[in-house]
């Protein structure tokens, strides 16, 4: 009896120890993934320009420098512009495509679904390089100014937006109760009105999430842009990479923090519409 009791007690302390170790390792992994963001934020507040530890003091001057740097401002606006246009086009084609994928049975549906998700699977650098070659060839063949143009870059980014939007919008369409549409049509709404007034509000979380993830993945894309940018122009990720290849200092850290803040804001906005944990 007493041995049984002690072994039971031993088992419980064993489990408690297990839980403790588990939590410790989990915290460690969580902090590790956030560590680079913490360090870059810390560096952005250093007083001196040389990134040597410990800092002589703290200051906000690098943020002033960052937002006064024309190269980075131009890069930021190009990234934002490309991201917005690509997201708009991406949504415009992804919403109908998602409806077809979830509500119609046709041959090749699986293949088309895979094709639409493909740009997420192809290595960014390979996708960028192949698009560049393709644009060179089509420019030669058609004599249209495709290569190195704004729309050539946007096209590459639309490819990045489509998989995210299709994935998230089909997910919310699958969860949408179609009897609501039928009810609207029974009450006299034509199919388009029913879609606009009933379906769209119902799947809005999916559309918002698709737009946000699409925009963020376009905004942060480095590899595809690297091949497609207009000569003499850079997107923000390219500007950051090129600066870092040369040196690291608090100015680039401040720019990085601004980018992190934009992304956090986008995530928190998305989270108001859909739980992020359900999306990714």
């Amino acid at each position: 009896m007493s041995t049984a009791g002690s072994s039971l007690g031993g088992m419980f302390s064993n489990r408690r120890l297990g839980r403790w170790t588990l939590n410790a390792f989990a915290t460690l992994a969580f902090v590790f993934a956030l560590l680079p963001l913490i360090f870059v934020t810390w560096l952005s507040f250093y007083e001196q320009e040389i990134p040597s530890f410990p800092p002589t003091g703290y200051s906000l001057q690098w943020y002033a420098r960052a937002i006064a740097n024309e190269r980075f401002i131009d890069a930021f606006f190009l990234s934002a512009q490309v991201g917005l246009v690509a997201t708009a086009i991406g949504l415009l084609v992804a919403i109908p495509a998602s409806i077809a994928l979830t509500r119609y049975a046709f041959t090749g549906r699986g293949a088309i679904n895979n094709l639409l998700l493909m740009p997420l699977v192809i290595p960014g650098i390979v996708l960028g390089f192949s698009l560049y070659i393709f644009q060179v060839e089509t420019t030669i063949a058609t004599e249209l100014p495709i290569m190195g143009s704004f729309w050539g870059l946007v096209f590459g980014h639309v490819l990045l937006v489509i998989p995210w939007s299709v994935r998230l919008i089909t997910a919310s369409l699958i969860g949408f109760d179609r009897t609501l549409e039928e009810a609207a049509m029974n009450l006299g709404a034509d199919p388009f009105t029913a879609f606009r007034r009933v379906t769209v509000p119902g799947i809005l979380p999916g559309i918002v999430a698709g737009a946000m993830f699409g925009f963020v993945s376009s905004f942060g894309n480095l590899e595809v842009s690297l091949f497609l940018v207009v000569p003499g122009q850079t997107t923000l990720p390219i500007a950051i990479l090129q600066y870092l290849e040369w040196k690291i200092d608090p100015t680039i850290a401040a720019i990085s923090v601004l980018q992190i803040l934009i992304i956090i804001a986008a995530m928190l906005i998305t989270d108001r519409f859909v739980r992020i944990s359900r999306v990714v």
């Binding site: 989990a26 680079p36 094709l115 192949s130 990479l241 870092l244």
Partner: protein, 288 residues
């Protein structure tokens, strides 16, 4: 007859709805890939740049030149090591998240998702400030008396692995978490009540049940590690060579056929290893 009459317009509607997206994706993926494949059989010439022909010389060159081979092996090694670390480090975190009923859970998930979308260059910047010769780590080691002078931890394979693990860990955690969440808590309790210590329970109950998530996470993180660009460029330095930087490097040297061949070797390798992992998991799943 009426069924046919009804399905014809339906097919047309579906085609109308899905047409534009399919057109863009086909134009952006299939066309460029075919051109890339074709280019990889062309020949590079320092004077004329590219000669249209049909040769396997770029692929032969790849598998015989020590320069390309070492980049290939480095990429495989870094991919493998970082994936194993991600799996081991990611599992406890994924489990805690999956079993957490805390109201901070969603905030924690956001904390894991945010780094995913912050560019890799930005995260590399964080490591550069920490691991450089005047960074926190070097200075701390010096102050504690472990080292006499400043140590530069940058530009090594280890640094690149650290950077890639930090980049890929969130992907692994999210893949595992979604599967672990679906495992009924009672099976764990059953194992405990039968006297299994926590580690035995994890090994005999959780691991087999989580295998689909493990496979998904492993494949995803391995692909991402193999294709990493910004992290090896910034943390590995100019002389450190992995496949994705190699593609861009050859492109900049105007050796487009060579770059195309490297790109195809990279894609073929990832694809083959992905299929391999899928087959192994399916077999294990059947046995288990």
């Amino acid at each position: 007859m009426s069924a046919n009459a009804a399905s014809r317009p339906k097919i047309l509607t579906a085609a109308f709805l899905i047409g534009p997206a399919t057109f863009i994706a086909a134009l952006g993926v299939i066309g460029p890939m075919l051109y890339l494949l074709r280019y990889s059989f062309n020949q590079y010439d320092p004077m004329e740049l590219m000669i249209e022909t049909f040769t396997l010389s770029n692929y032969v060159e790849f598998f015989t030149s020590p320069y390309y081979l070492s980049a290939y092996l480095t990429t495989l090694r870094v991919g493998l090591i970082s994936t194993v670390i991600c799996l081991v480090a990611g599992f406890p975190l994924a489990y805690v998240l999956a079993r957490s009923g805390s109201r901070f859970k969603n905030l924690m998930i956001i904390g894991i998702v945010v780094p995913l979308f912050v560019g890799n260059a930005v995260r590399a910047a964080g490591w550069m400030s920490f691991l450089g010769s005047r960074g926190l780590l070097s200075v701390t080691l010096m102050k504690l008396g472990f080292t006499d002078g400043p140590t530069d931890f940058m530009y090594t394979e280890g640094t690149v692995i650290v950077g890639i693990v930090a980049v890929n860990l969130p992907y692994m955690v999210l893949s595992l978490q979604s599967v672990l969440e679906g495992i009924n808590r009672n099976v764990e309790e059953a194992a405990f009540s039968l006297g299994a210590p926590p580690l035995t329970m994890a090994r005999r109950v959780l691991l087999p049940l989580a295998l689909p998530g493990i496979a998904a996470g492993t494949i995803l993180t391995f692909i991402l590690a193999m294709n990493a660009y910004a992290t090896p460029v910034l943390l590995g330095g100019p002389s450190f060579n992995m496949m994705a930087p190699l593609v861009y490097g050859q492109f900049q040297l105007n050796n487009w056929p060579g770059a195309a061949a490297v790109a195809f070797v990279l894609m073929a390798t990832t694809l083959l290893l992905t299929i391999l992992v899928a087959i192994i998991t399916r077999q294990k799943f059947r046995e288990g």
